[in-house]
Amino acid sequence: MTLHTVNKSPYLSQCLADCLDRVSAGDSIVLIEDGVYGINCATSETLSALNKAIAQLMTLGVQFCALRPDIEARGLQTTSANCPFNLLSDGDFVDLVCEADKVLSWY
């Protein structure tokens, strides 16, 4: 299992889209830094293509996560309805890296 990190806002950068194109079944994705602006993609018209890709990858067992300190720092409000992402502490992030075989950083 590969863990992918993404640190750019999907409103600015292709980073998340490029990552989603290369994810395999069972991989994990962690949004970090400005990457966390992607957590509300379910409610964004602009990001509807990404949202579709994410929904499809979830059916393949891809796990979507985001770093909670980065979300809180940016004042993003999340509810389970608009956010398909698991929120991680720094310690949870380390645990997930241990569970993965390797990390691929998209930046």
């Binding site: 640190n7 400005d34 720094d90 992030f93 380390v94 890296v97 241990c98 993965a100």
Partner: protein
């Protein structure tokens, strides 16, 4: 588990080194080991002892040094990247006849072979790329 953390982002300008620092702390709190910290690209600026932020802000190189000292970590700064960006130890400053040196104690200048070695010998390697 043995981790190597690769830091590519500069201090202050960019969040990457801050994220890397928090990750390193979390790794150590979980009782894992850090095989090596490797500072490359603009990440080499984190090793500058001349960083001078206002007193109420985090002093990045000072804080790395404390972590390095506390856990006896190996912190390698890519020598080729560092020289090009003006991060020099005493030996290199003399060699290039520069008026001063600024490598923070605790960090060492070394080659890219150390990055490859870390990739070969760590259980996990994670890169924190520039956020801007």
């Amino acid at each position: 588990m043995k981790f190597t953390i690769v830091i590519l982002g500069p201090p202050y300008t960019d969040q990457a080194a801050e994220t890397a620092f928090r990750f390193a702390q979390a790794v150590l709190e979980k009782k894992h080991h850090i095989y090596r910290l490797f500072f490359y690209h603009d990440g080499v600026h984190n090793a500058s002892s001349l960083l001078s932020l206002p007193q109420d802000e985090i002093q990045p190189s000072q804080r790395w040094r404390q972590l390095i000292d506390q856990y006896q970590l190996e912190a390698v700064v890519c020598i080729a990247s560092a020289l090009r960006r003006g991060v020099l130890n005493e030996t290199e400053a003399k060699r290039f006849a520069k008026p001063g040196n600024n490598l923070m104690p605790g960090f060492e200048l070394s080659g890219l072979g150390d990055l490859i070695d870390a990739a070969q010998h760590s259980d996990r390697l994670i890169t924190f790329g520039p956020s801007s």
